[in-house]
Symmetry: C2
Subunit: 227 residues, 2 copies
């Protein structure tokens, strides 16, 4: 399948209908739920902190961020690897863009801190590979739809920050998909260093154990605080 317009999803789900407001601005302090298998966008002012909660402990959040001033500037894992000299960001680390500018800083993380930065988000092609015949919810489309729901278009599908995704990397470079090691209620907090649009997708992967050994995609929750 070849996109002439990269912003158009391969299929649709309820992500199109669950924007938290017309432009993605959140009510400070309010807790929002992300339905299982869906994506939601949130607009963050500089200095605001986004707290993402994993109610089940077993759910992965595919996380994307774009500078509000120009969506072509986006969180980039390949650039992050250079700035951190590591594959694994931790509390205190800045998460940089493809312009090598810090977009967010991890200010807190109650989980064991196991997150992935090397694996692409799931997409229509991934589920075809895994044997699905019809449409399967996927994080690439959730990103597209979450942006459409607040009137924006994805200019590309960046490699995501896969929060709670457990992909150990062995000394020989080999990788594997393992169940998350987070605990129910774990929370990661990300401070916006510029005005940005963050998108969180509650990963709908239900074939590999990315979202737990039970392969049952679950909800996520989030709230925004002023600092």
């Amino acid at each position: 399948m070849s996109h002439t317009d990269i912003a158009v999803p391969d299929g649709v789900n309820n992500s199109l209908n669950i924007a938290i407001s017309a432009d993605g601005t959140a009510e400070v302090g309010r807790t929002y739920q992300i339905p299982a298998r869906c994506g939601v966008a949130v607009r963050l002012a500089r200095g605001q902190v986004l707290h993402i909660v994993n109610p089940s402990g077993s759910q992965v959040c595919d996380f994307f961020a774009f500078a509000a001033a120009c969506l072509h500037e986006h969180l980039s894992m390949a650039h992050l690897h250079t700035s951190l000299a590591s594959l694994f960001p931790k509390v205190g680390d800045a998460l940089v863009s493809n312009q090598r500018r810090p977009l967010l800083t991890i200010t807190a993380d109650t989980s064991p801190g196991v997150h992935d930065t090397v694996i692409a988000c799931c997409d229509h092609a991934r589920y075809r590979e895994l044997g699905c015949e019809g449409y399967h919810d996927n994080c690439a489309d959730n990103l597209r739809m979450a942006l459409m729901a607040i009137g924006l278009k994805a200019p590309l599908i960046p490699a995501p920050f896969n929060i709670w995704m457990n992909v150990p990397v062995q000394a020989d470079g080999s990788t594997s998909f393992q169940p998350p090691v987070a605990r129910a209620g774990d929370c990661i907090s990300l401070r916006a260093e510029v005005e940005l649009i963050a998108v969180m997708s509650a990963c709908p992967q239900d074939i590999t154990p990315v979202n737990g050994a039970g392969v049952s995609p679950d909800i996520l929750a989030f709230r925004v605080s002023a600092s």
Copy 2:
């Protein structure tokens, strides 16, 4: 620096003037040289093999590929990590696109096989970070210019396949930039599985030892064979 048009380089070098032909088609069997610090595009028919040679042994090739039918389909390291279950491709492996389609297969590699798939290509922002004040040649711009030189526009700057770039990954995920371990004259061969545009940039990094302890960017060479 924020690009409204991602295809426009931050500065220019001779990459604009060294296209091997109007549309990037190579003369089969002819050896072409890539000047130090520059990028060149080559159009490959399905089944043709691209042989990239490292005359000095110490030069990194930032490698990109786009499906000729739609440049939005491009070689993707994040998707490759899923398809290979590894960070390190080897002879026999297919290199997939963001549509999870094999674009190329590594058919031979006379080098020790140490290549990188996690680090972003160098760009204007990287050299500013490293203290450069004026314009510095960079692989992102070399990609843009190599495509412009054959009448195309880069729709994005994908994370590259960094051929001969030596970035060991430790068990804790930490990375470091080490000199290449290739030998003078080493060659990697890549078979095109679809018609595609490949771009090779002779990485101009002369501050970190990416291109050898002597930090002296050098030439690369290539030729195309029918099979």
